[in-house]
Symmetry: C2
Subunit: 278 residues, 2 copies
């Protein structure tokens, strides 16, 4: 593991690191924020999964999450959104290929060679963080934004033993039925929509998957909400039908940007802290 | 004035705007954050002047200042750091020309045609903001970072009637004697160092300029501090000799980045609010 940068912030250390990932067979970058409280004890970890086009930098530089993480004594972990080096399959559209891994293990060529982001973020990266930082990965939560909100819901619902808490900003709640998800899943997972259900939060809940209370914030002025890409109403219906606890806030006037994430990230970290430190 | 973008954040509106500036004879972009409290009353304004290479975006997206601005009821104003269009004089170095206006009125060719950032930020931009926003510019403060910390100190010391409060992060305190300042002042103001004193915080204080208490934060692990570009000790000496109140904090482990600004920006805005709302 190579250190790209470290910066002191809010009484802790914000680092960016790179390693050769086995899951993707590429170098991968990620950011880790470690509060100074980690000098005395291993701390719970909250992983943030980012949205389309993002790298590990967007959340790290724009969300302002380090302040609340330091106060709660939480390590923040933010991976990149896909393998991202020359020679790895890509697409000229922003919503497929590099920057758009959708947190699945691709089964279809050419994507299957490197696009194994599900294994990467749920297993390899967690093991790496446990090895190199004062992280208690038995107290692990996950949050995310948009494509990464989808990712957070899916990894948490598929493995509630590993991920104890979950929240999302403007998640793609029902990817199997919206343009972004249908395009990505068809490419990565193939034409058989049955395979898509393993990576669809609504389908997972319908299929019996459960989690601790899911916290979601959704901007009411989000253009991707208006475009039908996000469908929080489908998540509400699935949770209501299944008895899965959900706290969903629609925020008047807020859009899809980090200007929407920053005001509500403190409440999300408080949600994770309440569960992980209980 | 053209609206480039608006985003709701922290119970207010973060906008980016562009206008044809008379001072620079170019289009100029700037950002304005307006808390909703401005619907009921004109609010005090704090202008943030950014450092070398920055635009209006850096402070706006990375400092996390909107939260405290909303709490205090302060409008935030962040201009670009220079004229920045094709045809305007530039230099291939990052510390001269576009992105490096140093908040002076250049007197030397080719810079004098467009590099009139002192007039722009102290007069034209303030008038524009008063016209288009619910801004009470009789309650105006200024803060800045690095080159913009220099700018904040200088504009505040030169016109304490206009700027009632001032603070800075890692300012270039004594530009006339450090490499960044000597290079920029020689280009913009010419070889006669007597002309430089009008834009040098230490020289202004020595010459009798005064302000309300100056608040400065300086990272102790700042590489530009080690390189001798910043010289807070010279500001301390000038203030001590002149009886100018100064509160200067050296922050162990912190560097020159926005990871250093974000943790201390709340205290800076509290400093401005205490003076502007007294």
């Amino acid at each position: 593991m190579k250190t790209i940068s470290t910066n002191r912030s809010f009484g802790g250390t914000q680092g960016v690191y790179e390693h050769d990932a086995q899951a993707t067979k590429t170098p991968m970058r990620f950011s880790v924020y470690v509060p100074d409280a980690a000098k005395d004890a291993r701390l719970p970890v909250v992983m943030f999964l980012s949205g389309l086009t993002c790298t590990e930098q967007n959340f790290t530089t724009k969300a302002g999450a380090q302040r609340a993480a330091s106060e709660h004594g939480l390590i923040l972990l933010a991976p990149d959104t896909s393998p991202r080096v020359e020679g790895v399959a890509d697409d000229e559209d922003y919503d497929l290929g590099q920057g758009a891994g959708f947190y699945v293990n691709a089964t279809e060529a050419p994507w299957s060679a490197h696009y194994r982001m599900y294994d990467y973020v749920t297993s390899e990266l967690i093991d790496l963080v446990r090895t190199h930082f004062a992280a208690d990965v038995d107290r692990l939560g996950v949050m995310g934004h948009s494509m990464g909100g989808h990712g957070a819901l899916v990894v948490a619902l598929k493995d509630p033993e590993r991920f104890k808490s979950v929240s999302a900003f403007a998640p793609i709640c029902h990817p199997s039925v919206v343009p972004w998800g249908k395009k990505a899943f068809a490419a990565y997972l193939g034409a058989d929509e049955a395979a898509w259900r393993a990576y669809d939060a609504c389908a997972l809940i319908e299929g019996g998957a459960r989690q601790s209370k899911i916290l979601v914030d959704q901007g009411a002025a989000d253009n991707f909400l208006a475009d039908g890409q996000l469908r929080p109403e489908d998540l509400e219906a699935a949770c209501a039908a299944a008895g899965q606890p959900l706290e969903l806030h629609r925020r008047e006037g807020y859009d899809h940007s980090y200007y929407f994430i920053a005001p509500f990230v403190d409440a999300h970290l408080a949600h994770h802290a309440a569960i992980l430190k209980a």
